[in-house]
């Protein structure tokens, strides 16, 4: 799956990094996706990150 962070919305709250540290890293108040594609095995953590993101900045797309 492909995971993206909307950089206009992200404010660096780092909930994603806490939920899925293998996938997200927050640097300079912005979240970066570390892997592309993100392995399917990490889907539960990524989905939790999507759910917790205060700014609703994370999307998962397939493929």
């Amino acid at each position: 799956m492909k995971v993206t962070v909307n950089q206009d919305a992200c404010e660096g709250h780092a909930k994603c990094q806490a939920a899925a540290p293998e996938v997200f890293e927050v640097r300079d108040d912005l979240s970066t996706v570390l892997r592309d594609p993100v392995p399917e095995s990490l889907r539960p953590q990524v989905e939790r990150a999507v759910r917790l993101c205060p700014r609703q900045a994370i999307t998962i797309s397939e493929g």
Binding site: A9, E11, G12, H13, P54
Partner: protein, 422 residues
Amino acid sequence: MTQLSPVDIDLSDDSIFERGEAHAAFATLRREAPVHWNPGGERMKGWWDITRFEDVLFVSRHPEIFSSERGITMFEPRDPNEVNPAGAGNGIMLITMDPPKHVKLRRLVNKGFTPRAVNAMEGHIRQITNQVLDDIAKKGSCDFVLDVACQLPLAVICGMMGLQKKDWPLMFELTNKVLGSGDPEYQTDVPEDQRGTPDAARITGQMGVMQMFGFMSQQLEDRKANRRDDLISLLVDSEFEGDKLSDTDILWFCFLLILAGNETTRNGISGGLLALCEHPEERARLQADMSLLPSAVEEMLRWASPVTHMARVALEDTEIRGQKIAKGERVVMWYPSVNRDDAAFQEPNRFDITRSPNDHLAFGIGEHFCLGAGFARLELRVMFEELFRRFPDIRLDGPPERLRSSFIGGIKHLPVAFTPER
């Protein structure tokens, strides 16, 4: 479209909140009518009460369906000509603005509110906290709200906006008039025998808004003549889509910053101390290991839910939990309710300072997630670190007096006693 509900609970009766009975009402609504139609009254349109966690998530995450631009409180006058004090700011303030404009305007200021920017303020916030505590140190007792809880957030936001210390009490007074307009204690512009009425609330809110604008207009003129290192100067020089912000835009921005910056955190601090005093075992656990404080702060926020509701208006016909919501109808999200929804929290009525996970919605979520959440969290943490370091035996010295409001979960007065410092 709308149907009579079997549950007869009217959350526009703000004395429910003043008496501290809202949680019982919310529990009934969550169980029996989670999407509950309140028909409103002679002057006010009806609205849907939304009390379940998942439903508030849904509404929050669909700003394209649920708009903020027709106001974010439950009250919408039936008569469009009726004066609604804060209604003039609809569509102008961040909090009453929809995407895509909202996210662009928010970006003008959000760099000042990111975790890094907030963390850089910790030393400053600790210094203010200790100055506030110095003023009560020898007293042995005080009103925790007036003497402590309101002082820190007021100093922080007024400082960021570059307001002089002599003006801070006025900001406190006007905030109370605007956000506590329904409470007789703040209806000082109305003769005593007329306080407590809907008219008194409207007059009080109007006076608060007008006086705040009068004050902020002077500040704006001052910053136009002399830029300083503060948020008002930043707004004066900001451009939005190639244009400078208008005076009206800036004044509403300042209005929002002052209100949001001081009332909510004040009630987070007061509500937090009250919760800890009412749960002595949890408090003892915290004071024995202050490294639990960040987690305890989250639980205080869940427990106190300083913002009681936010409203949205449906831009199209839609559905929540199978209930049809018609275009133009108002939905009201009740945060204290969702934060005690047993579908989202195990044992939600237990105050547990190590609750994990604790994904409360005290700051909302999505497009309008509280811009100042980082400051609120930091101010709570530093306040309780310093408070318990200096006054470890601080305790209630009388019952709390709650604000009569369905919008802000406020505490007006909280008598406390403690061993004074020598």
